[in-house]
Amino acid sequence: MASLGKSVTDAGGVIVEILASRGGGTTKKSDLDAWITTYKVPVTSVIDTPPSTGTKTLTFFGVRETCVIVDVKTMKILKKVNGSVFGTGNSSVKQLVPEILKLLGA
């Protein structure tokens, strides 16, 4: 994520990592900190707010390891990838970063 994320922002795009759950439950700031530190995440990283009100983002997207590219003017989803929840194969981010870089003209 470290180099992939920077390539998107360097090209003028926005990248948002949402830590939507921990072990299927809600996330707290301490979970976000641990995750950022463990995976050395440099991009915008967020959790649902307020943290105690359930997993709104996960509920909206349906499943973790989901990655979408949106047009920021219309907020329409242009591309979507559901990566493996078992951690096999390329992650959804790895699959979509080349696609957004093409859109950004990089």
Binding site: G5, V8, T9, G12, G13, V14, I15, V16, E17, I18, L19, A20, S21, R22, G23, T27, K29, S30, L32, D33, A34, W35, I36, T37, K40, P42, V43, T44, S45, I47, D48, T49, P50, P51, S52, K56, T57, L58, F60, F61, R64, E65, T66, C67, V68, I69, V70, D71, V72, K73, T74, M75, K76, I77, L78, K80, L96, I100, L103, L104
Partner: protein, 132 residues
């Protein structure tokens, strides 16, 4: 002599009463708690580290007349290709340049609407993760 003493006393009281307006302005300016550079002290809670709302992320809004993005698109919202993503609310670390570890940035509240305005070009990538 008594007259002089009384005049000095009255003058002293008047001087003490005149200095507060500047101080209150300064205090008010330093106490808004809403600027993007305001780093909230959010690590002082004991076990519950979510007490107290983080400040709002205002650094990305351009208020210089005219909003190139317009209002957030209306629904219906969905998660399939062609659907409009809902304006979800979040809190966390906003790092538009990805130039350092995310949690070295201020901890703020933000939203999909606020974050999309960081885009210099028209696309955003959103990833939903879980920490196992």
């Amino acid at each position: 002599m008594k007259v002089v003493t009384r005049l000095f006393f009255v003058a002293s009281l008047a001087t003490l009463g005149c200095g507060s307006s500047d101080d209150s302005t300064t205090a008010a300016a330093a106490d808004t708690g809403t600027s993007a550079s305001d780093t909230s002290v959010d690590d002082t809670a004991t076990s519950g580290d979510d007490t107290g709302a983080p400040p709002s992320d205002t650094a990305t809004s351009s208020d210089t007349g005219g909003d190139p993005f317009g209002a957030y698109p209306a629904g219906p919202y969905g998660n399939k290709v062609g659907d409009v993503v809902a304006n979800l609310d979040w809190e966390g670390y906003v790092s538009p340049l990805s130039d350092a570890l995310a949690n070295t940035k201020p901890y703020v509240t933000t939203s999909m609407d606020k974050l999309r305005r960081d885009a210099k070009k028209g696309y955003a990538l959103i990833h939903v993760s879980e920490f196992l």
